[in-house]
């Protein structure tokens, strides 16, 4: 008698099989579409094309824009039914994409029920939830498509296998195929190698994003260094392999006898080039990973915090409650939301207020609103800070002979004799002179420029302190680049 299947391998096979169900389902449902006749299309093929396109467009940072995917799939649809209108091809493509997203369901995913015989011989049913394509938010807020691991696994055919071993197998297969000259098989093998690289990139991207949000959610002590080392090793191996392949196929391309072989080889060169480009991208990201982590750690861990510790929301509340079954988590979370969200102030309405509010006619509003009145603004002339006669006296005082510079102390003394406020004005003007430039004076055709020089003599004055500046007027001579020395 056959033993009932109890092992995990069986569950994996059942689940792998379940992942293909949405694709078969498409062909079963295509005849039920009321709005169009889709019976001519091979829907499961279009679905595989869709997943292909999305996976290939998945970059390190972004995913595939839905419009681009629909357009691409419509191209495949057009090849299946060249007689139909382009509009219908687009509609079929959109139908396939929406079906792969399972747009109608709340979770936008699929669920399969499978059973396993337990150790005690009882048969138990389980639910397996999976997605093939998912919509994620791009950096600019728009929606992108990404293929899930399940989708990539279904597509490549390496169901539930270790990434690394599948990669090595793909390399071996590729090399053998090229050696034997079977180029179309070599191309598909090269493509599957490329999917593996994309998976590595995807995993790294997720980890880095999580680190940016909270360094504690990613184990940078053991797991990440190991992952990075593994991924770098993968890249190094791929570099060697792909460069070898590159040399091989370039040779095939250049020495091929038939145009078909030449074309195939050329396509393969493109694929391998793309692989090399992706590896460079992944390598750059891997090398930057440590730096990004340290920057985040500085930002998050070393930011000074208070010594008083309270609850750890992440470890003590969020994670424990996520592990609880829905029925237990519900009241616990309700207690949290009820308290954390503040208070709700109920409306207290008097009937008379309500009545008044209801019978008050709505206020008529002018379409353009109130006319805007031009405010009358008085021209307020700015009062000079010093009396007008001071400025005249200042000009006289500073009308220095270019050959006879004076000390600031002497000018202050003279000024005090002429006018009580003049001394202050002299100081202000002389200090400003120290910053005067010669070029504007030249441009304005001034006869001379004032210069204030500090020769280290201190100013001894009862009102002002600082250096006793030497004040000079340098005459500007035309056609001479410099004014005469003071």
């Amino acid at each position: 008698m056959l033993q009932p299947a109890t092992d995990l391998g069986f569950a994996q096979r059942v689940k792998a099989l379940a992942c293909t169900a949405p694709l078969h389902d498409l062909d079963n449902r295509k005849n039920q579409v009321q709005t169009a006749d889709f019976s001519i299309y091979q829907m499961s093929e279009l679905a595989l094309n869709t997943i292909d396109l999305v996976t290939l467009a998945m970059d390190f940072d972004a995913g595939a824009p839905p419009d681009q995917i629909v357009a691409g799939v419509a191209g495949f649809a057009a090849r299946q039914a060249p007689g139909r209108a382009g509009d219908e091809h687009l509609r079929a493509a959109r139908w396939v994409l929406e079906s792969l997203l399972n747009v109608g369901s709340a979770d936008r995913g699929f669920r399969a029920v499978y059973g396993m015989t337990g150790g005690d011989g009882s048969y138990q049913r389980f639910e397996f939830d999976f997605k093939l394509l998912e919509e994620v938010v791009g950096p600019d807020g728009s929606i992108f498509l990404r293929a899930t691991n399940e989708a990539v696994n279904v597509l490549v055919g390496a169901l539930e296998l270790d990434i690394e071993s599948a990669q090595i197998a793909a390399d071996l297969r590729l090399e053998t195929l090229i050696r034997r000259g079977r180029l179309s098989d070599a191309q598909s093998a090269a493509q599957s190698a490329r999917y593996r690289t994309i998976q590595y990139g995807e995993k790294l991207r997720q980890r880095l994003e999580a680190t940016e949000r909270d360094v504690r959610t990613v184990d940078w002590l053991r797991e990440m260094p190991r992952f990075i080392a593994e991924a770098l090793e993968h890249i190094a191996a791929r570099y060697r392999a792909e460069n070898a392949i590159m040399t091989n196929i370039t040779e095939v391309r250049d020495t091929a006898d038939t145009p078909a072989t030449k074309l195939q080889a050329a396509k393969l060169v493109d694929v391998v080039r793309d692989c090399l480009r992706r590896h460079e991208q992944l390598q750059a990201a891997l090398q930057g990973a440590g730096r990004r982590f340290r920057a985040q750690q500085d930002r998050q861990t070393f930011a000074p915090g208070s010594a008083v510790a309270t609850l750890d929301l992440h470890a003590q509340l969020l994670v424990p409650v996520l592990t609880r079954p829905v029925d237990e988590a519900d009241p616990v979370l309700a207690a949290y939301v009820g308290r954390s969200a503040g208070v709700h102030v109920p409306d207290a309405l008097r009937l008379s207020d309500l009545f008044t509010a209801l019978i008050t006619p709505p206020a008529e509003r002018e379409l353009l609103g109130e006319p805007v009145e031009e405010p009358d603004l008085d021209e307020a002339p700015e009062e000079p800070p010093f009396p007008a006669e001071c400025y005249e006296l200042l000009d006289e005082l500073l009308d220095l002979d270019p050959d006879a510079p004076r000390r600031l102390s002497g000018l202050i003394e003279d000024a005090r004799r002429l006018h009580p406020e003049l001394a202050h004005l002299v100081v202000v003007r002389v200090v400003a002179l120290a910053a005067q430039e010669i070029n504007p004076a030249l441009r304005h055709n001034l006869p001379g420029v004032y210069i204030a020089v500090d020769d280290g003599t201190p100013l001894t004055d009862f009102e002002y302190g600082g250096a006793d500046l030497i004040v000079a007027r340098a005459a500007i001579e035309k056609n001479a680049p410099e004014g005469s020395p003071a």
């Binding site: 995990l8 747009v103 709340a106 936008r108 499978y114 389980f126 639910e127 939830d129 919509e135 938010v137 929606i143 949000r213 909270d214 360094v215 504690r216 959610t217 184990d219 002590l221 260094p225 990075i228 080392a229 440590g290 730096r291 998050q300 861990t301 915090g305 208070s306 010594a307 008083v308 510790a309 309270t310 609850l311 750890d312 929301l313 003590q316 509340l317 969020l318 994670v319 424990p320 409650v321 996520l322 592990t323 079954p325 829905v326 029925d327 237990e328 988590a329 519900d330 616990v332 979370l333 309700a334 949290y336 939301v337 954390s340 969200a341 503040g342 208070v343 709700h344 102030v345 109920p346």
Partner: protein, 263 residues
């Protein structure tokens, strides 16, 4: 005790019921706050008025104003049911859990370390996308653990026993609708609704539209989260779920020269 004293105390409580008002912007409010902090008799009357309304005064400070919380029987209590009704959930426990996880995730993201929750000058900055991804990541880690323990899938036909993280991971992150709006039943939509609600309650301040909405916390939010967290911790304790923390970060990150060179 004079009638005037009671009226002033009641007025202060009234300010506390308008959470978007801060003492810095209202002279009367600021005056009452100072009085409550300096005058013991007035502070006692404020407590008494609050107790009569089934409210608890959690904090009186110039920064946050007066922060009051409702007890369960108070007329001011937010009934969880009100929120779900407004949120458009269909009343299922799993739907309620999703919305509540968005609230808890927002608090966790706003105060990632225990010290942040204790520091009254700390301002958290959160975005809708950030909170969504944070909870998704936490759920994803549990999924990995579950896969490692060979219990990756749930027994069929018992939705109440499904772990909360499964409900969250399964729900679509975002989605387009036919008319170009974003899908409100996606997790991004649910988190967006939670943060909008919190900002209407004066607990968050919206600062921008990047990443579907950027918010910073208000001092009031810190107080509310701390109190609500303690209550939730007690509830978890009742279920026998306890995680003891010494107040340091959850995962200790230490570096050796070797691990540095590996990067």
């Amino acid at each position: 005790m004079t009638t005037q004293l009671t009226a002033d105390a009641a007025r202060l409580i009234g300010f506390g019921l308008r959470p978007r008002l801060v003492p810095a912007r209202d002279d009367t409010y600021r005056g009452l706050i100072r009085r409550a902090r300096a005058d013991d008799e007035f502070a006692a009357v404020v407590q008494a008025v609050a107790a009569g309304l089934d409210l608890v005064v959690m904090e009186i400070s110039e920064r946050a104003g007066i922060v009051v919380a409702s007890t369960e029987e108070s007329v001011f209590a937010i009934r969880a049911g009100d929120y779900w009704r407004r949120a458009g959930g269909d009343g299922k426990a799993s739907e309620r859990v999703l919305h509540a996880l968005a609230h808890l995730g927002a608090a966790t993201m706003a105060f990632p370390r225990p010290a942040d929750l204790a520091n009254e000058t700390y301002l958290g900055r959160i975005t809708v996308d950030g909170v969504e991804a944070f909870v998704r990541e936490a759920a994803g880690r549990l999924a990995e653990t579950a896969a490692g323990n060979d219990d990756a899938d749930l027994a069929a036909g018992e939705p109440g026993l499904e772990a909360s993280w499964r409900v969250y991971s399964r729900r679509a992150q975002t989605g387009s609708t036919g008319d170009g709006r974003r899908l409100s039943s996606s997790t991004t939509g649910i988190v967006g609704r939670a943060l909008t609600f919190l900002s209407e309650q004066g607990l968050l301040t919206r600062t921008g539209d990047e990443r579907h909405g950027t918010y910073r916390t208000t001092p009031r939010y810190r107080t509310q989260v701390r109190e609500a967290g303690v209550i939730m911790f007690d509830e978890l304790l009742r279920l026998g779920v306890t995680e003891i923390s010494d107040g340091s970060a959850t995962i200790e990150v230490t570096w050796t020269p070797e691990s540095l060179t590996e990067l």
